[in-house]
Amino acid sequence: MSATSTSGTPLLETRDLVIRFGGVTAADNVSMQIEAWRNLAIIGPNGAGKTTFLNICTGWLKPQQGKVFLEGEDISALPPRKIVRRGVARAFQIPQLFTEHTALENLLISAAAREGLRNPLQSLHRIRQRDEMMHLLDLVNCADVADRVVVELSEGQRKLIDIAVALALKPRLLLMDEPTSGVASSQKHEVMEILVGALAEAGVTSVFVEHDMGIVSRYADEVAVWNAGNVQLRGTPEEILEHPDVIRDVIGEEVA
């Protein structure tokens, strides 16, 4: 799996995205380029349009104006599944899992979806990718709950499995919405440590929405600050977290 983006074409690019809900403009002329091999953090106040941006990029929402390109291909009109098939996976703020299946089954289904569905009489548990999926569960520290049904798991475990399910698709680009919300603060760094390692190992580019500035400063290669439906600032974590506008609008004075 390599995700090299050649000849300077960004992995993902949006041009002049506009989307409004009622009176609220959730995306206001967003033009953004996401380069391969980087971890981009998106920060910003609630309602700034961060999740909406991920929704547009994955085809869940159709922009009223503007286009989305994946390695130069216009994917604006594609439904999420076709974008996923082109190598864009997603993890969610609220984990989206098959709640009546076990953790391992969730990953096996993901692997089966990736590989295509052929033999209708082979058991899901006997597919070739079983070991690979166990390894992935191990990677996100959830091997011990492989056979537990998802509803029995904690929010934090579900978050991790949600990410593992996305990773099981072997994406080139992984979009994550608050990967560490719901994970106890004592474990957030541990989780990110594992996650960033796994991403690097698989060569996956990532974009993640995050509120915790500690996480952002430590794990992001680049930070985009969202406000009122558009990117307000973009830069390295150091540049951004020191910026007075950011401190005022996003971080708040107390923490500063």
Binding site: R81, A113, S123
Partner: protein, 342 residues
């Protein structure tokens, strides 16, 4: 839509002592059924009808696994039966195999066409749209009297069996054992299908279509695959029913029959393959005896029976049976959890 029971990957594949009790009971049940023509010949027709209905109920059961309930699956039951009847009318002396294949083919084609439309809907709308389609077909059968025979239906003459013309008794024996074979083969196939990646993905329709979409799959196509399977199973049931009865009427498609299929599926244990057949057998027996000995109130008795099952044994007959043989379903616990941990 949630279901009361979370179904294990396979009804039978789990290791351990208890499932083997189940397997033995299943085998005994099949042998007992096969012996019916010898030990209780007057029950043969009744049981044959129940098996045919059980196959149709299996079709409904498939959809229940995806959390969808169709109040119009009698459509496929009826289409298959009518295809057989028309075939026999235009090709007198056609072979049983041909009738069956043509009937099921009709059910599959119509399942695909109707399915392409209804898979866009879920829950009540899914159920209601299926109802609407079956009612349209029903109205057509009633209305185009000169073609369809109207409410009286049309006769389905006895086909030949592998080229041999048969008397009623011999033919009924053939249909009876054919029904048992189809029950075993299709029941086994459905179990395997449930456990397979396709079947497992089909069952995720019930819990999370967003994730399904983000796995790069189309929930509609996934649902369609199961829908066509369910239509095919209903078609097999319909053909067998028509062959057994020798006549097809619009009543095959009437909405109460569709509701009855859902009723039996829940009675047997929603989502359970064995439950579909056991439910159908029990339902038919109760119904026949209720209508024979309490002609005025058989509906009342069946309705009360259903209420008792839903309120006090939501796992259906299979749930009760599992409790009796001590097969403690881990899935039952999962279900309770899924239920309340909203």
């Amino acid at each position: 839509m949630r279901d009361t029971t979370r179904h294990p990957t396979s009804d039978s594949a789990k290791p351990g002592a208890m499932p083997s009790i189940r397997a033995i009971l299943t085998l005994l049940g099949i042998l007992l059924l096969a012996a019916v023509p010898f030990i209780a010949p007057s029950m043969q027709l009744l049981i044959n009808l129940a098996l045919a209905k059980g196959l149709a109920v299996l079709g409904v059961t498939v959809l229940l696994r995806a959390g969808q309930v169709s109040f119009g699956h009698a459509l496929f039951f009826g289409i298959s039966a009518y295809v057989g009847a028309f075939l026999m009318a235009s090709l007198p002396g056609a072979d049983l195999i041909l009738v069956l294949v043509a009937g099921v083919g009709g059910a599959v084609v119509s399942g695909l066409l109707v399915g392409l439309f209804v898979v866009r809907y879920r829950g009540i709308f899914f159920g209601m749209l299926n109802l609407a389609f079956s009612m349209i077909f029903w109205s057509i059968l009633e209305k185009f009297y000169h073609v369809t025979g109207g409410a009286d239906g049309i006769r389905l003459a006895r086909p030949s069996v592998l080229g041999m013309a048969m008397e009623r008794a011999g033919f009924e024996a053939v249909i009876f054992y054919l029904s048992i074979v189809l029950m075993v083969v299709l029941g086994w196939f459905t179990l395997r299908w449930f456990a397979s990646p396709v079947g497992q993905i089909f069952q995720t329709i019930k819990t999370n279509e967003t994730r399904l979409e983000y796995l790069g799959l189309s929930p509609r196509r996934v649902l369609l695959s199961g829908y066509v399977l369910s239509a095919a199973l209903c078609g097999v049931g319909g053909s067998l029913m028509a062959l057994t009865q020798g006549v097809v009427t619009p009543e095959y498609v009437w909405w109460v029959r569709s509701a009855e299929m859902v009723f039996i599926a829940v009675l047997g244990g929603a989502g359970s393959v064995r439950g579909a057949f056991i439910g159908a057998l029990i339902y038919e027996v109760v119904r026949i005896y209720a209508s024979a000995f309490a002609g005025d109130i058989w509906q009342l008795l069946l309705g009360s029976f259903l209420l008792v099952i839903i309120l006090f044994a939501p796992g259906g007959i299979m749930g009760i049976a599992d409790t009796l043989i001590g097969h403690r379903k881990k899935s039952g616990q999962r279900a309770a959890t899924a239920e309340e941990a909203k």
